[in-house]
C-alpha cells in the first residue's frame, strides 16, 4: 500500500522532513489533531508538542515548537521554529532546561506575568523534548 500523504516540516534553518506518511498527528493549539488522506484544506496554529506520523506501519515522533500546519491537496506542511528528531535531542540539556524552568517558576512569586509565561513555555518545551527523546509517544 502506498503511503498517502506528503509531509514537509520546515524550520528557519532547514527542511527537517520531506516524506510520505499514512497518518499524522499534530499538536494544534486547541488539542491534538489527526490528519488522514483527503483531509479538508486547513490552516491551523500549533502549540509546543510532538508531531507523530506513521509511515510503513511504524510511528515516528518529531518535537515541534509552535508554528503552523497547512493542509492542502494531501500535502501537509508544518512550519515551526523547531523540528527535532528524537536522536537529535540532547537529553542532558533538556533536563537542565527543565530544572532551570522549574526553579524560575518556584522562586518567582514576584515576577511579572511575562517572566512566568516564559518560564512555563521553557518548561513545556523541555518536557516535550524529553518525552520525544524517551520515546513515549503519548502527547
Amino acid at each position: 500500500m502506498s503511503d498517502e500523504l506528503t509531509l514537509r516540516v520546515i524550520t528557519p534553518d532547514r527542511i527537517v522532513l520531506d516524506t510520505e506518511a499514512s497518518s499524522i498527528r499534530v499538536p494544534a493549539s486547541d488539542g491534538s489533531m489527526g490528519i488522514l488522506r483527503n483531509h479538508a484544506a486547513m490552516v491551523a496554529a500549533l502549540d509546543v508538542g510532538l508531531l507523530i506520523y506513521s509511515r510503513g506501519g511504524a510511528e515516528h515522533v518529531l518535537f515541534v515548537s509552535g508554528g503552523f500546519v497547512e493542509v492542502r491537496d494531501n500535502t501537509v506542511r508544518v512550519v515551526s521554529e523547531a523540528g527535532e528528531e528524537p536522536a537529535e535531542i540532547n537529553e542532558e540539556r533538556a533536563q537542565e532546561a527543565e530544572a532551570r524552568a522549574r526553579q524560575r517558576l518556584d522562586e518567582g512569586r514576584r515576577q511579572t506575568d511575562l517572566d512566568v509565561l516564559r518560564a512555563e513555555m521553557a518548561l513545556r518545551r523541555a518536557q516535550f523534548r524529553l518525552r520525544a527523546r524517551r520515546g513515549s509517544s503519548l502527547s
Partner: protein, 291 residues
C-alpha cells in the same frame, strides 16, 4: 649599498602583507559561502510564512488594516535599524551604506532613533551626534541565528507598539551578486496590507479552508513570525554582502601587493646587476693597475 638592502626589506614586507591579505581573502570566502548557504536554507521557511500571511490577509480583507501593526504609529519619531559591519577592511561596504543614510537624513525633518547592528554604524552615528537607542551585541551580528533575529524583530515591534514612533525602517545592504551590494531600505512597520496579499496566489485559495482556531488568531500569531523572517533575511543578506565585499577588497589588495612585489623585484635585480658590474670594473681596473 643602502638602496639594495632597503629594497630587499621592502620586498619582504610587501610579501608579508600579501600573505596576510590572501589569508583574509580565504577566510572571507569561507564565511561568504557559509552565509550564502544559510540564506538559501532559510528561504523555504520565509516563503511558507509569507504565503500563509498573504493567504490569511486575503481571508481577513479590510479587517487587517485595523490591526496596530498595520497602522501608522502615533509617535512623531522614526525608528531605523541600521545594519553595518563590526570590522573594517571590507572596501566601500560601510561608506556606501552611510551615504545612502545621509541622503535620506538630509531630507527627513523628523527625529530619528537608531537601532544598530555593527560597531561601524555605531561609531558613525556617534560622530554625528545621532541618537542610538540600542546597539545589538548579543548575539554579535556574525553569530546571528534565527532566534537572535527574532529577538531583534520583537524589540522593533515593541518599540513601534509603544507609540513613540510613526514608522520603523530598516537599512541594510542587499546582496545582488558577488560584485554588487546595494544599500536598501525596507519599510518594516507599519506593514503594508497590500504588499502581503500581493502574490495573488493566496487570494485564489481562500475558499473552503478550515481555519483553526480562527483567521484572526492565526493571523496575529503569523505576523510576528513574518516580521522575524524579514529581519533574519536582512541580517543574513547584509552579512553575505559584507563578506563578498571583504573578499573583493582583500583580493584587490593581494593583487596589488603582487604587482608591487614584482616591480620592486625588477628594480632590485637591476640595482644588483649594476652593483656587480661596478664591482667587476673595479676588480678588473685594480688588476690592470697592478700589472
Amino acid at each position: 649599498m643602502a638602496g639594495i638592502r632597503e629594497l630587499r626589506g621592502r620586498i619582504k614586507s610587501v610579501g608579508n602583507i600579501k600573505q596576510i591579505t590572501r589569508a583574509m581573502e580565504m577566510v572571507a570566502t569561507t564565511k561568504l559561502r557559509k552565509f550564502q548557504d544559510r540564506a538559501i536554507a532559510s528561504r523555504p521557511y520565509a516563503e511558507e510564512i509569507s504565503a500563509l500571511v498573504g493567504h490569511l490577509a486575503a481571508v481577513l480583507g479590510e479587517e487587517v488594516k485595523k490591526r496596530p501593526l498595520f497602522r501608522q504609529g502615533e509617535g512623531d519619531k522614526i525608528a531605523c535599524l541600521l545594519v553595518s559591519s563590526e570590522r573594517g577592511l571590507c572596501g566601500a561596504y560601510n561608506s556606501n551604506l552611510f551615504r545612502k543614510l545621509e541622503g535620506w537624513l538630509a531630507q527627513e525633518p523628523r527625529e530619528v532613533d537608531f537601532f544598530v547592528y555593527g560597531r561601524k554604524a555605531y561609531q558613525f552615528l556617534k560622530r554625528f551626534d545621532r541618537k542610538v537607542e540600542r546597539l545589538f551585541i548579543d548575539p554579535m551580528l556574525e553569530e546571528i541565528d534565527y532566534r537572535g533575529a527574532a529577538r531583534t524583530a520583537n524589540a522593533l515591534q515593541e518599540a513601534f507598539l509603544s507609540g513613540a514612533y510613526s514608522n520603523v525602517r530598516v537599512l541594510y545592504s542587499a546582496f545582488e551578486s558577488m560584485a554588487k551590494y546595494v544599500p536598501t531600505w525596507i519599510d518594516f512597520l507599519p506593514i503594508e496590507a497590500e504588499a502581503l496579499a500581493g502574490d495573488g496566489e493566496g487570494a485564489k485559495n481562500t475558499g473552503d479552508v478550515i481555519l483553526e482556531p480562527d483567521a484572526g488568531t492565526i493571523f496575529d500569531r503569523l505576523v510576528p513570525r513574518y516580521l522575524e523572517t524579514r529581519i533574519y533575511n536582512a541580517l543574513i543578506e547584509a552579512l553575505t554582502s559584507e563578506y563578498a565585499s571583504r573578499r573583493m577588497s582583500m583580493k584587490n589588495a593581494t593583487d596589488a601587493a603582487g604587482d608591487m612585489q614584482s616591480e620592486l623585484k625588477s628594480i632590485y635585480n637591476r640595482k644588483r646587476q649594476e652593483g656587480i658590474t661596478k664591482d667587476l670594473l673595479d676588480i678588473v681596473g685594480g688588476a690592470e693597475a697592478l700589472r
